[in-house]
Amino acid sequence: MITLVKRPMPSRFWSFTTPVLAVIATMIAGGVLFAILGKDPVAAIKVIFYDPLFGPNAAYFRGQLLVKAGPLILIAAGLAVGFRAGIWNIGAEGQYIIGALAGASVALAAFPAESHWLFPAMVVAGALGGWIWGMIPAVLRVLFGTSEILVSLMLVYVAQSFLAWAAFGPLKNPEGYGFPGSRNLQQYPSAHNPELIAGTGMHWGVVAAFVAVIATYVLMSRHIAGFRIRVAGEAPRAARFAGVLPAKLVMFCLGLSGALAGLAGMFEVAGPSGQITDSFNAGYGFTAIIVAFLGRLNAIGILLAGLLMALTYIGGDMAQLMLGLPTAAIQVFQGMLLFFLLGFDLLTQYRLRVGKGSK
């Protein structure tokens, strides 16, 4: 019989080891899944994890890695701050959409004027848009005690409807021959968020993601505000005793994660995506939740987890293309990663004892 014994202190060793174990377990279980689907598991795993980095077309895919990882990391860094406080923003996808709409609206309103001020103004608008969308569940929770989980999630669908309306309506390209979607900002120099170093995929959004990682790391581990956020998540009564006001905390966390998600959306629409369409959002806001937990809600961990997740995105696309794996199989594969991570996470708090257990 196997019994679980609670450790007196969380194990440092296991908190570093469990993500690695989870990745290995995902590879094994994923391999089994692919084998059941009639694909060669070793080839599939190689296409997903190895080829994008070192395969024949790696030069192109390596650039894609940062393009995909940038928004994931930027959003997850903000979400993790709230998650540490026990404030669950599930609606980053919606905040991402509104941030993109706000940024693109500023650019499209100014078109075709060229100015050095336009891009910074778009950055501010994007952050502000996401912040407002994040503050809606925050204010409702503070005033009426609603669940921020449900409200933020439902606002994703509101944002999606908003996006479709904008893409077919006010933001539609007047010279677009009736096709839905806005002007392409990649062809509007003042508004464009370009690749900064050719071939790397590095754009301002990736820079912002790195800055967010460093800033949230310093906030959570070195600053009294981050300390209070951690206390609030661990022991709400102790937090109140330490002088934390729950209302302020809710607004700060949802506002911050909303603003960062909004920024991610804005950088995406001004850069890699280029235009607002009704299918502009690609699920970054939801995947970032996985990234935040995969990174153990730690800024550095999120950086690594974001890169890993981006790799499974790119590798998953390649596997679809080259091996004909269904999209759903790739999504299951990504879900397994979170599943195994949370499962192995048990080992940081508990030790397994095999043998005769005492009741």
């Binding site: 014994v5 007196p8 202190m9 969380p10 070195r222 600053h223 009294i224 505000a225 300390f227 951690r230 206390v231 661990e234 022991a235 009564r237 102790a238 109140r240 005793f241 330490a242 002088g243 006001l245 005492s358 009741k359």
Partner: protein, 505 residues
């Protein structure tokens, strides 16, 4: 009445890292009240859990009425005639008395018959209780009566009582003892667990003293003095607290007509609480927990701000200030619940030092944590208050209750408060540590600070407080000097016997 009802030999139970019981043996005769005496962690709870079938012993044997007795679960123990009243009640507040009793029975009779039997038993043993009342409205003493009657309905041969008087007023204790003596006279054996020595001397016919999981002595409690019993329990000399060298000065804290709505559904409201507190003074607030103690601490610490003008410090109205603003002005507090309120279980002691220490100690620079300074502060607390731990990096939850309590009290005392409010400062703390905490509070007052001690332990309050008042159902009695106060008077201040004066004593 010869022979023994319960006989225990060589009972041993080990947990990882600690031997809770090591070859424990004793006997209880029918009709006797037998005391199990020992400090926290001496192994009393483990021992009775084995007798009640909650824990399985590793070795040793038990006999009940001359037959081998190995209860696999509490149900088997109850079937064999063993009943237990726990220290913490397991009652549903939203249900009435009869419903609660029925929930604990294997085959509950129809509610009307049960109510009848509850009435009969409560009359027979002088424990008045209305079966139709909602448990949420009952006092702690009345709730205990529900648990006792639940046991008596089983007609037990052996009744185990775990620290039964910790929540009772002196009058209620008298009534309980009256009931227990009556039960014993009818032939029921009672195993009585406590660390209150005077009680044991007046009630028990025999005592087994445990220390570190072993039986260190057996005696007739009446033949020993309380001091001798304490020294057997602790295994050493007992240091008396020194309350010399204090004189009270000007009024620092003033609480004026403080009212507060209940924080939880069955929680008490604070009603018109008034008192003043002078520098150098220790004010003891007695009363059974759940009568507004937590609420009073929360309003004084700033966690629950109160109406304007109700709390003033040095003449300044601080009613609407939060905990950190009050700390800045010198008003500090240590709540009762150590894990999750006074300290964060999963954070290290260094981080727990930061929890309340940043306002009065330079632990931050421009909002950034100075971890070195925080660690030094935690080490200072550990050293100054003899906290037994490998170091400040250890998580709070890894400490024993007593050690964590020393850390929590030390953390506040070393911040040099002008007013310190503590709730149940020695609850669950061993005698030596409790004495150290009391001395620290007295020393703090000797340096000119004002101290409020909220406690259920009346002996503790008599030992260190200059003035005493009682908090009962959210009302605070007028503070009176402790010198010359008798237990009788204290009992009446505590609300007497909660509507039981009519019971025959």
């Amino acid at each position: 009445m010869t022979g023994s009802l319960l006989k225990i030999e060589g009972l041993t139970k080990a947990y990882p890292g600690v031997v809770a019981n090591d070859g424990v043996g004793f006997e209880v005769a029918p009709g006797k009240v037998h005391a199990l005496l020992g400090e926290n962690g001496a192994g009393k709870s483990t021992l009775v859990k084995m007798i009640y079938g909650l824990v399985k012993p590793d070795a040793g044997r038990m006999e009940l009425s001359g037959r081998p007795y190995t209860p696999a679960e509490p149900r088997a123990a109850r079937a064999a005639g063993v009943a237990m009243v726990f220290q913490h009640f397991s009652l549903f507040e939203a249900l009435n008395v009869a419903e609660n009793v029925a929930l604990g029975m294997e085959n509950p009779p129809p509610m009307r018959d049960l109510a009848e039997r509850i009435r009969a038993i409560s009359a027979a043993y002088g424990l008045p209780l209305d079966p139709a009342r909602i448990v949420g409205d009952l006092s702690a003493g009345e709730r205990q009566r529900v648990e006792i009657i639940r046991c008596l309905l089983q007609d037990p041969k052996l009744l185990i009582m775990d620290e039964p008087t910790s929540v009772l007023t002196p009058q209620e204790v008298e009534i309980l003892f009256h009931t227990l003596r009556k039960l014993a006279a009818e032939g029921t054996a009672i195993l009585y667990i406590s660390h209150k020595l005077e009680e044991i001397r007046s009630l028990c016919d025999g005592a087994t003293i445990l220390r570190g999981g072993k039986v260190v002595a057996s005696c007739m409690p009446r033949e020993k003095s309380a001091r001798e019993l304490a020294e057997l329990m602790v295994g050493g000399e007992f240091a008396a607290t020194d309350r010399a060298g204090r004189k009270s000065g000007a009024v620092i804290l003033e609480v004026d007509h403080l009212n507060l709505p209940p924080m939880t559904q069955f929680g008490p409201a604070l009603k018109d609480v008034c008192f003043t507190l002078a520098a150098g003074e220790v004010l003891g607030i007695g009363g059974v927990a759940g009568n507004g103690q937590e609420e009073l601490l929360a309003t004084l610490s700033g966690e629950r701000p109160s109406g304007p003008g109700t709390v003033s410090l040095h003449g300044q109205d601080i009613s609407d200030l939060g905990p950190n603003d009050r700390r800045r002005l010198g008003l500090l507090a240590a709540p009762e619940e150590r894990l999750g309120h006074a300290a964060v279980p999963n954070l290290s002691l260094t981080e727990n030092a930061i929890l309340t220490g940043t306002v009065r100690r330079p632990l931050t620079r421009n909002g950034f944590l100075n971890m070195g300074a925080a660690r030094r502060f935690a080490e200072e607390v550990i050293k100054g208050f003899d906290v037994r731990t490998p170091g400040p990096h250890v998580a709070a939850r890894a400490l024993s209750g007593g050690n964590l309590q020393k850390f929590v009290i030390g953390r506040e005392v070393l911040q040099a408060p002008e007013v310190l409010v503590v709730n149940q400062p020695t609850w669950g703390v061993d005698a030596a540590a409790a004495a150290a905490i009391r001395q620290a509070l007295l020393d703090l007052a000797a340096k000119g600070a004002a101290v409020i001690v909220i406690s259920q332990d009346l002996d503790e309050l008599m030992e260190i407080a200059d003035r005493f008042c009682a908090l009962n159902e959210g009302r605070l009695s007028d503070p009176r000097p402790t010198e010359g106060l008798t237990m009788e008077e204290i009992g009446l201040m505590l609300g007497g016997a909660h509507g039981m004066q009519e019971a025959a004593l």
